[in-house]
Amino acid sequence: MSRLVLKFETEMLKEVPLGTRPVTIGRAPDNDIQIDNLAVSNYHARVYVEAGSLVVEDLNSLNGSFLNDIRVERAMLKDGDAILIGKHEILVDQLNDAAQPLDALRKAPVPRVNETMVLDTHERRMLLDAAVAAGERSQLSPERFRMPTLIVSRGNTDQKEYRIASKLTVIGKSKMATVRLRGWFTPEVAAQINKHEDGYYLGRGDRLPKINGVTINGLTKLNDGDVIDVGRVRLNFMYRD
């Protein structure tokens, strides 16, 4: 027989069998599943059986009910689905094994979404935490702090070494250049380096730069130790502790 399992983080709190009567969820004590949390409305949602299928229905709650990351008003449930109410999860268990949150994200049949919807920051964090927990590559985990630096090994520049502290680093003759080049024919913007969430990217300006001898093709990520050639100027890109 089916049951609903109330979970908070990794802890199972309560189990409620699903019979013919609807199961109510909310903060008020007369709910079948009571969740004593300010983010939960007094009568937040209910789960019932309709024409042989399990259905979850949000009861116009303030913060909404979420099925596998999607905010729903009414949706059909299947084994392994997770209903998120506030910070509590209610798992649907029809065969006696609860599915992993990551599987729920990947395989759950999702209601058709034509209109634009927005997830809140909690769901977004949940999504990323699930990915990290499952060992997936996460580009958003910060590494220990290393200062990106450019060391000049050849060329006419105003300094021998530059720290990359800005989002935009210009290499050229321009007043806004960090790496100020000199020379009659030097362009204002010879090349530029952009800081993105996952690292530093070298892009062209009036010159097409090379990384380790290879001409770049569009914005290219810089790795520790790369050698950058911009015209006659050679710079070593390095992370310093």
Binding site: M117, V118, R137, K167, M176, V189, Q192, G218
Partner: protein, 270 residues
């Protein structure tokens, strides 16, 4: 820098009203685009309020140094970029509060992408899945990261880009203006070169027209306005499933080039 501007917004072939919005202040060189969402016509309210707020706040910031900065001020970007981000934080509060005080508007929101040019520096700030692109020397790069569920899943490694394109959930956003009390604004800066194209657009364009088609349209049009018109026509030809808006900026020439400087020198030396 002298910028040639082209812009167009269109209902598309399927929708009943246009919830996209754009505003251009050519003297400030400030360009803002927004794609609204919410039942009925509330998307229009949200996107209009968002772009108006950004424009007003940026103008105020130029006129008075004591205009406060909303959200955090970052040390690694210019004052202009911080001001642009501040404007979006303010727009978020305004749309959020408007929605909170009108029950029918609850849940309304918008995407936003804004570009501000100061001499050779382009300041960019955005929330949502409306985009900015840079086309330089025949090569086009997307400057903004989409704040959508499918794009986040691709970045984290759960989905491949192909699976993302085929997904039914492409319109689910992870960030929007007006749906939460606070929002995280992404910023970027670029150094502009003569010959560059900057394109701001809503997803109504990019869902219907591929990146290579966009690039070749920009490169083969005589003016920025012609390319804007052609891109919207293409979006409609390919289905026009959503409202589509484009703002195209072409960097034409620097205000004082080498010949200008020579003329000025000649003038002063009699």
């Amino acid at each position: 820098m002298h910028i040639e501007i082209g812009a167009r917004t269109d209902l598309g072939r399927v929708r009943k009203n246009n919830e996209d919005c754009y505003l251009i202040d050519s003297s400030l060189q400030l360009f803002v685009l927004s794609d609204g969402m919410g039942g009925e016509a509330h998307g229009e309210v949200a996107s209009n309020l968002a772009v108006q707020t950004v424009l007003t706040h940026c103008r105020q910031g130029e006129n008075s140094r004591v205009t406060p900065i909303f959200g955090e001020s970052r040390p690694d970007v210019s004052e202009r970029t911080n001001r642009l981000a501040s404007a979006i934080h303010l727009a978020n509060r305004k749309v959020f509060e408007t929605a909170a005080s009108n029950p029918e508007q609850r849940g309304m929101g918008a995407t936003i992408v804004a570009a501000w040019i100061d001499a050779e520096r382009l300041s960019l700030a955005h929330v949502g899945d409306s985009r900015a692109y840079l086309l330089r020397a025949g090569s086009m790069d997307q400057l903004t990261a989409d704040h959508s569920l499918v794009a986040e899943k691709v970045r984290v490694g759960i989905l491949t880009p192909q699976e993302a394109d085929a997904s039914e959930l492409q319109s689910v956003l992870t960030r929007a203006v007006g749906t939460n009390g606070a929002v995280e604004v992404d910023t970027d800066e670029q150094a502009l070169l003569v010959g560059d194209f900057i394109l701001l657009c809503s997803d109504g364009l990019t869902r219907m027209v591929t990146d290579p088609e966009i690039a070749s349209t920009l490169l083969t049009s005589a003016t920025a306005q012609e390319s804007a018109d052609r891109l919207i026509d293409l979006a409609n030809e390919n289905g026009g499933v959503d409202n589509a808006t484009v703002v195209i900026l072409r960097v034409i020439e620097k205000s004082t080039g080498i010949f200008e400087r020579f003329k000025i020198w000649k003038r002063y030396s009699g």
